[in-house]
């Protein structure tokens, strides 16, 4: 048998566009498998020359799913340029809208994108594995998904004025305070959202026994984990310190001010993808592979610090006897625990009297020429790093998007799953679906994650009508 390459293009039920290549050897066994992100955005270049005040709205356009996360990191970078800390009410309101974003994005991944695999199984006919079939066969679950996502979206709309790309989050805080009526509107929806989240968690944990083979091979390997924790080392999404943990649970770095991320994170570029490959600098590339996102956040945190989430957090921690959970299939589990945490935290924050203060924004001019903003987006740690003139004109931008942090791990995961399930002598749809499904565990948002680092490399393959490669033109 000849060497062959299987191509899965496009990868479905993810956000953004990607293809997977699986290289088979003469025996039909998997030699290598890679994910290629084939689109290119280039916001880092587009932003140059623009005023810093435009950055939150401009960079939020990176993504239609999590524009709030970008606006949060961007305004934090701008706060840093102004050398101000928003007033408590401004910080609390930013936290609430960020958590609303996390709920809606997590619900989207669990219900709309991933649950067809859980309901029908990975080997089910591909015609069945989609949200529309779920609406037919599991209408209550589909309604739950829509309602829970709407809960997050309505918070964003209530606070920010619109569900996608709100401009309410501004450098120095937020543009205006919220009314008691708005607060009550959100609080009223919390009990139902919590019921739905608990139901989803119960469904998932009760289904876990069906996926033991997937759990064992879906990007299940030792790696580092990175994320933000608060001063107490607990789960945090808005503001805190970076923590790096190894696969054994040893804390490698703690209390790292995100402004100094470059001392710890390097960025590599591969020829066959527009997605950068960040790595933990002390271990080098690619050994410094780390994971971010819900799984990493729960692995590195000491606790969630909200009652219901902590109850589930304890069970999660026991999966690997207190050590970090290495199986990426549990990203789904971590995502559901985070939804519960987010709902609890939104309620706590809304009930804090200071949240209702009219002092929501700090005003200042440029006081620094470099500003870094870092927060936890649904998919992981997000960095916005700006350089600006004294007049406030942006001269340099570096973005590390949450999905990008997971690039090395996603590639390793794709290879692991392909080796476990794909057999060149008998290629099944279920096997290929599993290769895609491992990517869904990471819930990548690929449209957001492609940005410039040096000269963008490109490779053009010229093929004849039989798809045989005739010529390759490359630039790197």
């Amino acid at each position: 048998m000849q060497k062959r390459t299987l191509i899965i293009d496009p990868v479905t039920r993810i956000e953004g566009h990607a293809k997977i290549t699986i290289d088979l050897n003469e025996q039909g066994k998997v030699d290598d498998a890679r994910i290629h992100v084939t689109q290119y955005r280039g916001f880092e270049k587009i932003c140059e020359g623009r005023p810093y005040t435009e950055m939150p709205a401009l960079t939020a356009r990176t993504c239609g799913i999590c524009p709030v996360s970008h606006a949060i990191s961007s305004t934090k970078a701008c706060d840093n340029l102004l050398a101000v800390r928003p007033p408590k009410a401004g910080r609390n309101l930013r936290r609430i809208i960020n958590l609303g974003q996390i709920v809606q994005s997590h619900a989207l991944n669990f219900y709309h994108l991933s649950s067809p695999d859980f309901i029908y199984g990975f080997d089910a006919p591909k015609e069945d594995r989609n949200i529309f079939n779920m609406i037919k066969t599991h209408p209550d679950m589909a309604k739950d998904g829509i309602k829970l996502r709407a809960f997050g979206q309505k918070i964003i709309e209530e606070l920010g004025g619109k569900r996608i790309h709100p401009t309410w989050i501004v450098p120095g805080g937020v543009s205006h305070q919220i009314s008691i009526e708005q607060k009550e509107n959100i609080l009223r929806q919390i009990p139902e959202a919590m019921e739905i989240a608990q139901r989803a968690l119960k469904y998932f944990t009760q289904s876990l026994h069906k996926f033991q083979k997937e759990i064992a091979s879906f990007a299940s390997f030792p790696s580092l984990f990175m994320g933000i924790v608060n001063k107490k080392g607990n789960l945090e999404h808005y503001d805190g310190f970076l923590r790096f943990m190894d696969a054994e649970g040893n804390i490698l770095e703690d209390g790292v001010d995100p402004r100094f991320y470059k001392e710890y994170i390097g960025e590599a570029v591969e020829d066959d993808s527009y997605l950068k490959s960040p790595y933990y600098k002390p271990l080098g590339y690619p050994q410094g592979m780390y994971r971010v996102g819900p799984l990493a956040r729960l692995n590195i945190a000491n606790a969630c610090a909200t009652p219901l989430a902590d109850k589930e957090f304890e069970i999660f921690k026991n999966i690997n006897n207190g050590k970090p959970v290495l199986n990426s299939f549990y990203y789904h589990y971590a995502r559901l625990i985070e939804i519960i945490y987010a709902i609890e935290r939104i309620e706590e924050l809304l009930l804090e009297p200071e949240t209702m203060s009219d002092n929501v924004r700090a005003h200042a001019s440029i006081n620094r020429n470099r500003g870094v903003g870092c927060s936890e987006a649904p998919r992981g740690t997000l960095f916005h790093d700006y350089e600006a003139t004294n007049d406030g004109v942006i001269t340099g931008v570096n973005l590390i998007i949450a999905t990008g942090n997971n690039n090395l791990a996603m590639n390793a995961g794709v290879k692991q799953v392909a080796q476990a399930f794909v057999d060149g002598n008998n290629i099944t749809d279920g096997a290929l679906n599993r290769v895609e499904a491992v990517i869904r565990c990471f819930d990548p948002c690929l449209s957001c994650s492609t940005h410039a680092l040096g000269i963008v490399s490109s490779k053009i393959e010229i093929r004849d009508h039989t798809k045989k490669v005739i010529e390759i033109i490359s630039r790197s």
Partner: protein, 239 residues
């Protein structure tokens, strides 16, 4: 004392008989009669230059369209302000204004309060009928209170005229030709180095788009106060 004799002229606008002062423009008369003619460069009290061409109207007997803001009324004139031919031309004019610079409304400080954006909505312009040029101009952020972004400038010259005719400073002018034109301060110096600018901010308040704006405001936050400038001009005239 015998009052100066006021001469009047009679004309038709949209088939309606109208009488107005003999030195009035079509736009002024239409405004008095509550007939809206869209415009971007016109500002009550400032001289008229016919820069934006959005106020083009049809005059019976003339094959050319004429700008309502600079055309004086004539006895017996018959004016149409909103024929299908005019609507078509207005859409094309707006398309060319949008295509000439980079008006990305979604991230603009004036989004939601922009006269150009409002005109596009009113005229039903859903997309530009000509290709975007994507010119890139450097922004001038040197002034401590204001910014100038030529990428959003429609060259209406309201700022130039208000600075000259109301503030009396004439710190602003047009530089360059055609699509390269831009507003400059003094001899094309950074705003902060302008010797004649008084930092009054009138130019910012009358700018119809997000080209001139207050520093520190984010997307959608810039609300212009051109009414203050119009009131100022009226008050001075009354004195």
């Amino acid at each position: 004392m015998i009052k100066e004799k006021v001469r009047v002229k009679t004309l038709k606008i949209n088939d309606m008989d109208v009488t107005a002062k003999s030195n009035a423009t079509i736009l002024e008369v239409a405004n008095e009669q509550g007939i809206t003619i869209p415009s971007l460069c016109y500002l009550e009290g400032l001289s008229c230059v016919g820069a934006c061409r959005l106020c083009l109207v049809e005059v019976k007997g003339s094959s050319k369209l004429v700008p309502a803001c600079t055309s004086k009324i004539k006895d017996g004139m018959e004016v149409m302000t909103n024929s299908p031919r005019i609507q078509k031309h207005r859409k094309m004019i707006l398309s060319m204004i949008f295509a000439e610079r980079t008006h990305t409304c979604s991230v603009c400080v004036s989004n939601g309060h922009c006269e150009l954006q409002n005109q596009a909505i009113e005229q039903g312009l859903e997309h530009s009928e000509v290709a975007y040029i994507h010119q890139k101009f450097d922004i001038d952020a040197s002034h401590p209170s204001y910014m100038y972004d030529p990428n959003r400038c429609i060259l209406c010259t309201r700022c130039v005229r208000v600075c000259d005719e109301v503030e009396g400073a004439h710190a602003l002018d047009i530089f360059g030709r055609g699509i390269e034109s831009k507003i400059i301060h003094d001899m094309d110096e950074p705003w902060i180095d302008s010797q004649s600018c008084t930092s009054c901010g009138k130019c910012v308040q009358v700018c119809p788009t997000g080209a001139l704006f207050e520093k520190g405001v984010s997307a959608t936050e810039m609300t212009k106060k051109k009414e203050i400038v119009i009131k100022l001009i009226q008050t001075r005239k009354e004195r």
